[in-house]
């Protein structure tokens, strides 16, 4: 039973991160019908920038709390600019191209960003340690530390904020209108390009925060970290129903839980034949199962036939 609670906690923490990243995939898909496969790399850039900024600020003897907040803000700012730039340079010229072209471009952008990060920060793992003690708390046999508590709370607040923005502001209304009918939105006076830019920037800001969270939780950053994380968050978005914001959140948390419970019990279930390092298998098992049995995802609407 202790393992169960522990895995639930781990799953919630990891699921919160997946949810934030999945929101970026789903927002862009909702508006452009594009899977932005470079999104995972934006998470990685966020983590790298946060680490670089944190080290520089601490070296300059800035107070730890302030340094953490400033480095997070730096990561968010850089990622927003990056998200804006990616859309502007790589996707906008292909707005009316066949769907395969932007998809391949997305993979290209992802490779470019990975290599760029490798050139700047090298191939080695960097340790990411926060400048405060990270106390552990015992909750009925399971352990949850400060960082994990903060991750879950911050993720919840951000998701609530995003839902409020999308459903109760003029910009959010315009985003939903553009997602549904871009031509009609134009007739209302909405500058579609501006809405698309805002969407990319919002998604990238969430990616930066997720990058910071995942680095703080695992204590490690690496130029390749965005690949697997991105793929799993994409799976989470598909699980919830791609294009659906609530779906991305539910899918993210659910995938985190499935993965961590799976990893916790796979040893027992297979009599020790498979170990917890098979954790990644679960995400892709889920992806395949969803695509086969419910392609529209848990909360998704039926997919319209596209010509």
């Amino acid at each position: 039973m202790e393992i169960f609670f522990q895995q639930i906690i781990n799953g919630l923490v990891q699921g919160s991160v997946y949810a934030l990243v999945a929101l970026g995939y789903t927002m862009v898909y909702g508006i452009l019908g594009l899977i932005n496969f470079a999104h995972g790399e934006v998470v990685m850039i966020g983590a790298m920038v946060a680490l670089a900024a944190l080290q520089a600020l601490l070296a300059a003897a800035i107070a730890p709390v302030l340094a953490v907040l400033l480095s997070l803000m730096a990561a968010v700012a850089v990622c927003m600019a990056l998200g804006y730039g990616i859309e502007r340079i790589a996707y906008r010229p292909l707005r009316n191209a066949p769907r395969l072209a932007p998809l391949i471009t997305a993979i290209g952008v992802s490779i470019v960003l990975q290599n760029l990060a490798m050139m700047i920060w090298g191939r080695e793992y960097h340790s990411f340690t926060l400048p405060f003690t990270n106390d552990s708390h015992h909750l009925g046999g399971a352990v949850m530390n400060d960082v994990q508590i903060v991750i879950v709370i911050v993720a919840l607040l951000i998701m609530a904020g995003l839902m409020w923005l999308v459903h109760h502001t003029r910009t959010g209304r315009a985003m939903r209108a553009v997602a549904e009918n871009p031509a009609a939105a134009t007739l209302m006076g909405v500058d579609i390009n501006r809405v698309i830019s805002v969407t990319f920037m919002l998604g990238s800001a969430l990616a930066a925060i997720a990058g910071f969270m995942v680095s703080a939780n695992y204590g490690i950053v690496h130029y390749y970290m965005g690949f697997m994380l991105g793929l799993k968050a994409f799976t989470a978005a598909v699980l919830g129903g791609i294009g659906n914001l609530r779906g991305a959140m539910v899918g993210g948390v659910l995938l985190g839980l499935i993965e961590s419970l799976g990893a916790g019990y796979i040893g027992d279930l297979t009599g020790g034949f498979l170990g917890s390092h098979y954790q990644d298998v679960f995400a892709f098992f889920v992806l395949i199962a969803v695509l086969v049995f419910r392609p529209s995802g848990l909360l998704g609407e039926k997919l319209a036939e596209r010509a």
Partner: protein
């Protein structure tokens, strides 16, 4: 003509090699209700889309309030007072009725005025007031047409363009929609009405243009067109 609001000169539009408009010219004066009639594929919708900025003409001139529209993108034309209710209505099915109307006021920044405008639309279309929190996609065709018109009015248009407002509606609803069009016109909004139902359109309008395969073949006072043999034969089934 006094107070010309819109002047179109020799407008040509092509899609992928096919010339949909072969050089049409028309004028609309401030406050007029003008109709553009013609059969399917004559280029009526193309004309409206070009005026709204959704299509780019290959040549020709578009003057609105004595300024060229050609280089003004579609989304800015709304702020200049040009509003199109597109064919098929283009409502946002997953937004509520009220959110649809608020989208109509997207270019307006005055919140108090927008709230007053909302109430005005609800007074004009009481049915929408009852359904303000309902998703627009769940409404009937006639109600959706009301949403589309009310939404366009929310932008305070100077020139309101309506593309086939009667399409797919029950006769009673068509009557109601046309009544509303006349009301809007009486309030001083200039209207360009595209219709397949030529009789209804000519009865409502002051002037009309007949469009055939991308060219204007007839124009004049609506009452004259209504009585002309050519229109009678081609569009009124006489």
């Amino acid at each position: 003509m006094a107070n010309t609001l819109l002047e179109v000169l020799d407008l040509k539009v092509s899609y992928g090699g096919i010339q949909a408009l072969k050089g049409i010219s028309l004028t609309i004066a401030q406050g007029e209700l003008v109709t553009l009639i013609g059969s399917n594929g004559a280029g009526k919708t193309t004309t409206l889309k070009a005026l709204a900025g959704l299509l780019h003409p290959t040549s020709g001139k578009l003057h609105y309030q004595e300024q060229s529209l050609l280089h003004i993108p579609a989304h800015q034309r709304v702020a200049n007072g040009i509003s199109l209710v597109p064919e098929g209505r283009g409502i946002f099915a997953r937004l509520t009725v009220e959110e649809n109307l608020l989208m109509g006021a997207y270019v307006r920044s005055d919140r108090a005025e927008t709230a007053a405008d909302l109430e005005r639309q609800y007074a004009l279309f009481p049915r929408l007031a009852e359904r303000r929190t309902q998703l627009a996609g769940t409404l009937s065709g006639g109600e959706q047409q009301m949403v589309a018109m009310a939404r366009a009015l929310m932008s305070h248009p100077t020139l309101l363009m309506l593309d086939e407002p009667s399409m797919g509606l029950a006769p009673l609803m068509v009557e109601k929609i046309f009544e509303t069009i006349r009301d809007i016109s009486v309030q001083g909004v200039t209207i360009l009405l595209v219709e397949q139902n030529a009789k209804l359109a000519l009865e409502a309008a002051q002037r009309g243009y007949v469009l055939e395969s991308g060219a204007i073949t007839l124009s004049g006072a609506a009452s004259e067109l209504l009585g002309s043999d050519a229109v009678q034969r081609a569009y009124l089934g006489a």
